[in-house]
Symmetry: C2
Amino acid sequence: MHQQQPIAILDSGVGGLTVAKEVMRQLPREKIVYFGDTARTPYGPRSSEEIIQFTREIVDYLIQFSPKMIVIACNTATAAALGVIRSRVAVPVVGVINPGARAAIGRSTTGCIGVIGTEGTIKSRAYDSALRELSPHVEVISETCPLFVPLVEKGNFRSPETYEAVRKSIGHLRKHPIDCLILGCTHYPFLTDTIAEVMGQNVALINSADETAREVSVILQNKRSLTRRDEIPVHQFFCSGDPILFKSIAQQWLGEQIELTPVIWQVPNIV
Amino acid sequence: MHQQQPIAILDSGVGGLTVAKEVMRQLPREKIVYFGDTARTPYGPRSSEEIIQFTREIVDYLIQFSPKMIVIACNTATAAALGVIRSRVAVPVVGVINPGARAAIGRSTTGCIGVIGTEGTIKSRAYDSALRELSPHVEVISETCPLFVPLVEKGNFRSPETYEAVRKSIGHLRKHPIDCLILGCTHYPFLTDTIAEVMGQNVALINSADETAREVSVILQNKRSLTRRDEIPVHQFFCSGDPILFKSIAQQWLGEQIELTPVIWQVPNIV
């Protein structure tokens, strides 16, 4: 593994940009190659076979950039495909579920932890397993939120419609004594303000994007694989769907904190 | 590396108990073997040759327990001896400086980060290096606090004397635009309340104990080395100095959150 190689980040769409943004902030020297599968989003309602197939295709595409690490910045794809991808590539593969689980364990004092995610993620019970692998006696309260990803992919982060969707989907979680809520989908940080408003100030929101970026940093540093490069990296973004919408959301999300100089937009040749 | 092997944690004295407590909380299944070199504390004013020698002796002692990981839970020893210890043992060796630096980078928005530590730690400029390895443009403001470790080793966590020592040592740091202060010594979390009172609410205190425990969890989980054991682990504690004082501080610090059942106290045969 060479220090100068990029970090590959993939997602079903724009959600993984929350992870990319945090990696850029926490590791500003590292180059990122990002793929958003916007043509086939959302992954949440798809079968695990289909998700594994899509994730394999994207990883096969990204391998051309010789990444030193692959980040599956999608909870649904992590739940379905992390093991398969790890067995197929020689570089470290990081998902977003273990980092979120670890952060929640670190933060919770009641030991009662909420998780919200797509149908695929929640049905897989991947967060339950990850949380209990670390700490066997935590109580986990889960809820699916199928409305959230389509709202984010449309760029609809704050509106009365969004507030109502969030309130109806997760308002009832306040009946449980949870003190942490894992945003178990990388799209959900786009809705942080609304989710925080609905859940109230006594519930800490665990943003798996922050935690995953931290974990990327831990693993690369412990493998002595951080870049030594001093120049500002030129990141590359790819999406399988509408490039104008993707670019608009990406610039809105990333643009305030970093300069995106020559960004190459390509639609790869996959079905 | 076997999953059932313990995690070895070492410190110049009781400071590393802050790391041990967090490992117990974040990884409650894992067994810990702890060594506090209370006979030779503080390490802060010692030469780096002496600190390397002491750290090697302790690691040689702890190796008898076949640990799956060694945590140098002492900033001074991390700064002086991390590289040497890594080259001597086959298991992962984690220090406390990189985790604290990583957490500060993750938290800071101003990019101006304060670090307090012992003379040995601050003179080594290990935090400057760790912070700039991750993010090259951070500004680092450092201060030595030679009075703090002796106060903690005497169990003097909260008193007018302690408040005065803290105010005189670090009160002037408030002149700088720091938004994070790294507690760059594992003894300092014992003084968290007083340090927070002196620094005010706009400066986040970065507790390297929390962060180091998180990093232990990341590394063990990514190596598939977390224990699968279900029974409550029986931790072992060792110190080179007064066992009554050590036991008193350890029980005060650890006792509220975990049950310490059969704890074995031994003074190892080192000079």
